[in-house]
């Protein structure tokens, strides 16, 4: 195996890791603070992609149309996040995990039906936006330049979340609440308000990731389950609720998938779960995670 092939595969893995991080970071953030495993996170991502398509198609602005649509769709997803948190999720915080999974799975079904009803079962796509239309040559292999956009966006979200969680007062409250929400509320901090905004932030990131996937391939039903399964692998490997863990988990899953596909394409997904199983045996709470108290 020559170096250029490996490097090309490595870069594809990084691009995939960036996308996985975008989706999984929202999942991990809401779990870390709200302690709700949101099975519907992938559905928010899927809905974000469809809404981006519709906005893009409606406004039809040249050059920046896709970026405007991405921005607006993320905001719409934030609004949908408010509705979901306010009417459903906040009734679940005191409940057990089976009920939380059941209720968020109900959202998966509802969003699937909304998508079927609103967009039909067709495959939709958005062309890659300027200036990321073509491909660049990496050691003679064509590499889609749009991948660089996704990697860049992933980096921006990593830096933003790191700043938010570790450098701001809200971040102090987030880390305190992730550890002991009861104590935080006894100090006079409005937990319901905090939880709503964290879920909204998670939904915005889900919408954003859905939007940037749109020019990757096709927007279609089923993309929700496909991504959520890989995201669960990411957060299980990295450690639920940990930002560095989600980053490392995304890199591991992205790269294992990229190289796995080279050796044995039909086993690419299986390789991911072998890694996950290995991590679970050695560190059941994930690489950066903490044992549950």
């Amino acid at each position: 195996m020559s170096f250029d092939v490996l490097f090309n595969q490595f870069m594809s893995g990084i691009a995939r890791a960036a996308l996985l991080f975008l989706v999984a970071s929202g999942l991990s953030l809401t779990f870390g603070v709200l302690r709700v495993l949101n099975f519907a996170h992938g559905s928010l991502y899927m809905l974000g992609a469809f809404i981006t398509y519709t906005i893009w198609k409606t406004i039809l602005i040249p050059v920046v149309g896709f970026y405007v649509a991405t921005f607006l769709a993320s905001l719409v997803m934030g609004g949908i996040g408010i509705i979901i948190e306010f009417f459903l999720l906040r009734r679940l915080y005191a409940r057990g995990w089976p009920e939380q999974l059941l209720a968020t799975y109900a959202i998966v079904l509802i969003i699937t039906d909304i998508v079927k009803w609103g967009w039909g079962g067709e495959f939709l796509s958005i062309p890659r936006p300027i200036p990321f239309k073509g491909a660049v040559s990496l050691f003679g292999f064509p590499f889609p330049s749009y991948n660089f956009f996704v990697i860049l966006l992933g980096l921006i979200v990593v830096i933003f979340l790191w700043w938010l969680v570790y450098k701001t007062r809200l971040g102090d409250i987030i880390r305190a609440a992730a550890h002991d929400r009861e104590m935080v509320s006894a100090l006079g901090i409005p937990i319901p308000w905090l939880f709503t905004w964290i879920f909204v932030l998670g939904s915005i990131i889900a919408g954003l990731s859905g939007a940037v996937t749109a020019p990757f391939g096709s927007i279609a039903l089923g993309m929700d389950i496909e991504i959520i399964v890989e995201c669960f692998a990411v957060v299980v490997i990295g450690g639920m609720g940990s930002l560095p863990g989600t980053l490392l988990g995304s890199l591991i899953v992205g790269l294992v998938y990229a190289f796995g596909i080279m050796f044995k394409p039909e086993l690419a997904l299986a390789f991911i779960f072998m890694v996950m199983a290995a991590v679970l045996i050695i560190r059941p709470w994930g690489i950066f995670g903490r044992p549950e108290r």
Binding site: R169, D172, R175, H179, S185, A186, L187, G188
Partner: protein, 231 residues
């Protein structure tokens, strides 16, 4: 300032408090004494709203507070210092204190003032919450709650697990806080730190108030102490 009237509190299905009543007047320090498991912590959790009573009434400055969420009760002016300290481990000492800050122009307590009361915490400013000793954690949990500028401070076992020397300095620091006009309700399973600071005391046993009197009366009453407080 605080009037607790006939509250019944449950943990799940187990009945813990059987209609207890007590009151704390403004500027007073009152202690709630009783053995472990007598219901002291539950009484505090009932007041701050973490385990709301099923019936009865709790009035703070004349307003009913049962049914309000904990953050609203805290914002009315009640500060809760839990017995297990509950320091945020991933935050520094400074961040632990500042998490509790609310923007108030007239706030009596700020970081500078808290650090002058607890100079030890100033030295530990950048240390993480999980690197502190028991005594340091106890100071930090009091400091953190002070940052909310409470009018009434609920102190759950402030001397628990501390060395005698540390208890002595904690007693002095709490005395300072009391002098500044902060009303206090302190609970303890032993006669010690709480009684030294308090004006009046209630004795609680099996979720019921058994005795009520001034500290002097309580200290004289050998029978009550033997029956409800000694191990």
């Amino acid at each position: 300032m605080l009037e607790v009237n006939g509250i019944h509190t449950y943990y799940g299905t187990s009945h813990i408090l059987f209609g207890i009543s007590f009151e704390v007047k403004e500027g007073e320090a009152v202690c709630l004494l009783g053995r472990n498991g007598a219901g002291k912590t539950t009484a505090f959790r009932s007041i701050i709203g973490l385990t709301p009573p099923k019936s009865g009434s709790i009035k703070f400055k004349g307003n009913e507070i049962i049914g309000k969420p904990p953050y609203r009760i805290a914002r009315m002016g009640i500060g809760y210092v839990p017995d297990t300290r509950r320091i945020f481990p991933d935050l520094t000492v400074r961040q632990n204190i500042l998490v509790a800050r609310r923007e108030k122009e007239t706030a009596a307590w700020n970081l500078e003032r808290i650090y002058s009361l607890f100079p030890k915490l100033k030295d530990l400013d950048t240390h993480m919450g999980n690197q502190l000793s028991g005594g340091e954690q106890q100071m930090l949990t009091v400091a953190r709650t002070l940052m909310t500028n409470p009018e009434l401070l609920l102190l759950d076992e402030p001397g628990e697990g501390l060395a005698p020397l540390v208890i002595q300095s904690m007693k002095e620091q709490l005395g300072e806080i009391k002098k500044l006009g902060v009303t206090m309700l302190i609970c303890e399973h032993n006669v010690g730190l709480a009684t030294a600071l308090s004006d009046r005391g209630y004795v609680i046993d099996k979720g019921t108030i058994r005795y009520h009197g001034t500290i002097v009366e309580l200290q004289k009453n050998e029978e009550v102490r033997k029956k409800y407080l000694m191990v």
